[in-house]
């Protein structure tokens, strides 16, 4: 016969156990994803950025803006490149003038209202460029917060926005931890990178991948074990941005430094 004390103890354990979401126990692993390839669809788009190869020319940003009809002179862009300069005294300077649409053409760093900051070359301990784009998260927070079902994820993992259905409330723009979303100045709806869905679904690469002269960007199918991009993600030391948010980003970075936010 169960007594009151035992009942309370077991009840607390049971309730505690129930409150743990299953997702908390699940660790994202591209291998799991690949193991699921037999069930249903054969495609899960992923992206690989090699920050060691990027020189900050900004051809990717230019190509993206033209390919995806993002107004060229408006200060919004689907993809952008950030510059990080770490100095001897441990400070990190970050800038991305016009999203690097015209590349980085000066060693001076744009510090907004503090003006342009010039760092003598001997003071620089580390300097690198980090291209950014939509992470096409496995758990996209932007999709969860959409009140009308205007943004959604396709079977192959790309998050899209229905322009006719978006009401422009901006929840998704606030909800994205990576700040990849913005209002389209012409269509007045939420906008973001969609891995050039019109290109990848026809077997092409994204416009930014084709425009990059240095091979810093590549796009691939994570469910295909022979895909060169998938191979690198499986075998090399890749990292993702803001892993602690649990969004499970599908843009992987090679050579990512700890300064990158």
């Amino acid at each position: 016969m169960i007594n009151r004390r035992q009942f309370c103890k077991r009840a607390i354990i049971a309730v505690g156990g129930l409150m743990l979401p299953l997702a908390a126990l699940e660790i994202f692993d591209p291998r799991t994803l690949q193991a699921e390839k037999e069930t249903g669809n054969k495609t899960r788009w992923g992206f690989l950025v090699d920050t060691r190869k990027c020189v900050g020319c900004g051809f990717c940003v230019k190509a993206c803006k033209i390919e995806n009809e993002v107004p060229y002179d408006a200060n919004v862009t689907r993809t952008w490149v950030e510059r990080y300069v770490v100095t001897r005294d441990g400070k990190t300077y970050i800038d991305s003038p016009k999203g690097a649409r015209d590349g980085f053409t000066s060693p001076k760093i744009d510090q907004n209202h503090h003006g342009m900051h010039e760092i003598p070359p001997q003071e620089v301990t580390k300097a690198f460029f980090v291209p950014k784009l939509c992470n096409q998260c496995e758990n996209p927070p932007c999709v969860q917060v959409c009140p009308v079902g205007a943004t959604y994820q396709t079977e192959d993992g790309v998050v899209l926005i229905d322009r006719t259905w978006c009401i422009g409330c901006g929840y998704c723009i606030m909800g994205c931890p990576y700040s990849v979303r913005f209002f389209h100045p012409v269509h007045h709806v939420a906008e973001k990178c969609n891995f050039c869905y019109h290109r990848i679904s026809q077997g092409m690469k994204t416009a930014c991948v084709d425009a990059c002269p240095f091979g810093a960007r590549s796009v691939g199918n994570l469910k295909d074990p022979d895909d060169p991009v998938t191979r690198i993600i499986m075998t090399e030391r890749v990292s993702v941005l803001k892993e602690e948010y649990g969004t499970k980003p599908q843009v992987f970075y090679l050579g990512l430094s700890k300064e990158v936010k």
């Binding site: 249903g40 669809n41 920050t51 060691r52 190869k53 990027c54 020189v55 900050g56 020319c57 900004g58 051809f59 230019k62 190509a63 033209i66 390919e67 995806n68 300069v85 015209d102 590349g103 980085f104 053409t105 000066s106 060693p107 070359p121 620089v124 580390k126 300097a127 690198f128 460029f129 996209p140 999709v143 969860q144 079902g149 205007a150 943004t151 959604y152 994820q153 396709t154 079977e155 899209l160 229905d162 006719t164 259905w165 969609n194 869905y197 019109h198 290109r199 679904s201 026809q202 092409m204 690469k205 416009a207 084709d210 425009a211 002269p213 240095f214 091979g215």
Partner: protein, 162 residues
């Protein structure tokens, strides 16, 4: 039951019916829950096809090679072969039909994207031959002296002699 009780009830029911009718009219037929479940896959299915149907502007180098074979092979031997034709010549669309001529970018701004010297020893940028755009012939366009298709200094001289 008395009529004065039923009448507002009918009005309320009619209102509910009207709202459901309007909803039926406004919500597209293919709006529903798809592969990614209720949380991520609740959308209008035909929108996927709309995104797939966006016009491609950058058609990659493959098409350029078909017509401009000699030019393509010449450039493929140069250091600039890593740069896509369309990066400088503009997106191809349906060229030569549309646009018949491309918008070639010969500006200084295009070259200094890579060739403005930024002395970062970590990463590849510091290794690219570079200039200070403010000091190196600031008024001139790069293409006045440099051959963008064949950028080695040796080749520049040969071209000048011929």
């Amino acid at each position: 039951m008395k009529n004065h009780v039923l009448r507002p009830l009918y009005v309320a029911l009619a209102l509910v019916g009207f709202i459901l009718f309007v909803r039926k009219l406004l919500v597209p037929v293919d709006f529903g829950i798809y592969e990614r479940g209720y949380m991520y896959g609740w959308h209008r299915k035909s929108n996927e096809a709309e995104w797939k149907g966006v016009r491609i502007k950058y058609k990659t180098d493959k098409g350029c090679r078909d017509c401009h074979r000699d030019k393509y092979e010449e450039i493929s031997k140069s250091g600039h072969s890593i740069i896509s034709c369309e990066n400088c010549h503009g997106p191809r669309y349906e060229h030569p039909k549309d646009p018949p001529g491309l918008t070639v970018d010969r500006s200084r701004g295009l070259c200094v994207r890579c060739h403005a010297h930024i002395p970062y020893m970590t990463g590849g940028r510091g290794d690219i031959p570079g200039i200070d755009p403010e000091k190196h012939y600031p008024q001139a366009e790069c293409v006045m002296c440099h051959l963008s298709h064949n950028p080695k200094p040796m080749n520049q001289k040969r071209e000048a002699r011929s």
